[in-house]
Symmetry: C2
Subunit: 418 residues, 2 copies
């Protein structure tokens, strides 16, 4: 198979059907999503057979247990995929929404209409459920999608895509709305991320290595984040109970997620009060602590933190702690070491809260709330295709709106420019 030709064909077809999808009715898109959900549940056995093939091949290749677990399609996971599609169907359709339609002194009426981006390329690793999630979000937002999952999940992804194709067909929509790359050749990715004529944006989902490589080589815009080195700053005027609740929740509620706290900053004035309490909590939760010398002075269990620690997203029960003079030093630290993902201040001081909000340059900035809230569902987007730490186009959790653009619309009555 000539990979370049194959990918060009996928791209061309996606571009063609993207015009049909852009004008598809909300009812048709929802029907396709709901039918696909029913079919996914009905086809549990077919999905299971396809998944078994992938699992057997994975075991032969010596994939580790964690990877095999992510690859497994259980009944519960299939149900969750189907529910995800129904939930996307229930979200408002962003396409065609007109906003800010106002008259101008010339007499014309000017507004903006939300429109799909066109064709979206999704590159992801082992979890087959991404196939359904991503397809659903792209379809609802009126985009065609090209899905490139992990080679180890190919049969599962194809089986899921076939269910979605049936849903599309039953709703009278083109099956090419959702295309799965059916080759495991790695050069397919290189082709996809350089198809400027056919693809409008790439969304990579997976490990940092994958995302870095794609960002470096892509000739298309990439919606992404690399690190989630999230900070909690406990201000000198923090409420002690809130500080403890947030600093424990942000670290311990889940370890392997990008919105978990990785570094705790504590104002010098409150450190002797709050750190011993937190130390107890982290000891109970078996969180390894690495800190500056002042932290070490206050908590005997703390190992010295290296320069490297302040940059690190542990994704594990490890936490870096630094005592700072106050807000300025906290913002300096976040600016220098942070990843622009999510930071929170715990304070009762209005002016400090306002300064933190305005001066911290991250995709989510919080006051008196756990960083764990940085999430499309929690923000009310209904679902998310990913999180962006870039400043252009989409920032923070990206839902349906992030998969759309706007065009200007102008209404006149024969108006001409003088």
């Amino acid at each position: 198979m000539d990979i370049k030709d194959y990918m060009q064909n996928l791209g061309r077809r996606a571009r063609e059907v993207s015009r049909i999808l852009a004008r598809a009715s909300t009812a048709d898109k929802n029907r396709a999503l709901e039918r696909a959900a029913s079919i996914l549940e009905a086809e549990g056995q077919t999905l299971d057979e396809a998944n078994r093939k992938d699992l057997a091949a994975g075991r032969n290749k010596g994939l580790d247990d964690a990877l095999l677990d992510r690859l497994t399609l259980t009944e519960a996971r299939i149900k969750a995929m189907a529910e995800g599609l129904c939930q996307i169907a229930s979200l408002p359709d962003p396409v065609g929404a007109i906003s800010d339609l106002n008259y101008r002194p010339s007499g014309i009426q000017v507004g903006r209409m939300r429109v799909p981006l066109g064709v979206i390329g999704i590159i992801y690793e082992s979890r087959p459920n991404v196939t359904a999630d991503a397809a659903g979000l792209c379809l609802k937002s009126g985009n065609a999608v090209i899905l490139r999952g992990g080679s180890e999940a190919l049969h599962s992804n194809q089986a899921i895509a076939r269910c979605i194709h049936q849903g599309l067909e039953q709703a009278g929509l083109p099956q090419e709305a959702v295309q799965v790359v059916e080759t495991t050749d790695r050069s397919a990715v290189s082709e996809l991320i350089t198809q400027e004529a056919y693809v409008d944006v790439i969304v990579p989902r997976g490990g940092k290595g994958l995302i870095e490589r794609i960002s470096r080589e892509a000739k298309l815009p990439v919606i992404k984040h690399l690190d989630g080195v999230c900070h909690v700053y406990i201000d000198g005027r923090a409420d002690l109970d809130k500080a403890v609740a947030i600093a424990v929740n942000a670290k311990c509620q889940r370890y392997g997620v990008c919105n978990a706290m990785e570094t705790l900053l504590v104002a010098r004035g409150i450190a002797p009060k709050v750190l011993p309490i937190l130390g107890e909590h982290y000891r109970t939760a078996e969180v390894e602590l690495r800190g500056c010398s002042e932290t070490q002075g206050l908590l005997p269990q703390v190992k010295p933190a290296t320069e490297e620690d302040w940059y690190t997203e542990y994704l594990a029960p490890i936490l870096a702690i630094r005592v700072v003079a106050g807000l300025d030093e906290a913002i300096e630290h976040i600016t220098h070491y942070g990843s622009h993902h999510t930071e929170t201040i715990v304070t009762e001081d209005f002016t400090q809260a306002r300064r933190f909000l305005s001066e911290v340059n991250s995709s989510s900035v919080m006051v008196n709330a756990s960083t764990r809230f940085a999430d499309g569902f929690e923000y009310g987007l209904g679902a998310e295709i990913g999180i962006s730490t870039d400043k252009l186009h989409a920032r923070g959790p990206v839902g349906l709106e992030g998969l759309t653009s706007q065009k200007w619309i102008v209404f006149g009555n024969g108006h001409i420019r003088e």
Copy 2:
């Protein structure tokens, strides 16, 4: 001079002061703009002297009259620059605006805050007034800017920048907010457009060749448009008077602008009525007509259009005309040959108007209005830094808002995720 070092220094300084600018008060930014405007007017003689140097060098280099004209700073043009800065001062400050701040079921309050992009690189050609316009828009939107004007305008640009620096200084803002590249070495541009660490976005302003080169070589997002092949489609159910007014205004009001009509599409049913009237108008205006065979049958003065004509942005008194079967063929033509800039339909039919609006994929889509309205001032943006035909981030005329991003903000009262 080591160009790489020099540009790295500019970039580093811009990044540093961008943090100060991001939190500068509206009052300080406006004061800097207004002071700079006064100083520009007061320093007319200094500007004139600098401009004379550029003009003399330009004449020596054999620049043509059109280029020398664009390069010239007359008293009226200096006044216009100053007025432009005052007008930017009078616009609402986009930075810090909070929208959609709503409570979520979890109890947290989630919204979005508008924030500057950071550092903007502007690359432009001979008109020195861009120095003041671009600096003003970037300053008001809280961004640091690095300006790389044409080498033939260097002394003029430096003199304008000195006035702006005085304005910044008098308002207590850092002069490095506005930096002019003071080398005419071409490699400075290559450095600027690859400084991912220091520059957030590039806005090129100038000819298509410049913009194509920059888009190809940049490692940063570029806000741009290449062509403005704008279409007027006269539908079978068009009002004849409106059709004639719009088709004449869109072509003849100004020729050298990107939102002028370059191709006229006419529905077969109305062509025998409207084309002869339009033919008279274009004959009077001395517009050269190139058309399909049907157009030639209806208007004797029409030369045959080649395939190339449908793709061409003439920027001149030349117009391509094609008779089409109806709306579908018109949309096909625009999709195939268009540049996604601005298209308008003239029709009294509600459903045709709605279809054109939703199915034409351009940055501005109009009904019964001249394409010439596609402009930041006409749309109510107050000013524009450029026009984008891309779908990501900014689309259509780009004003202050297009130079900003949004971050998510979350307010809690000690909220943690369950």
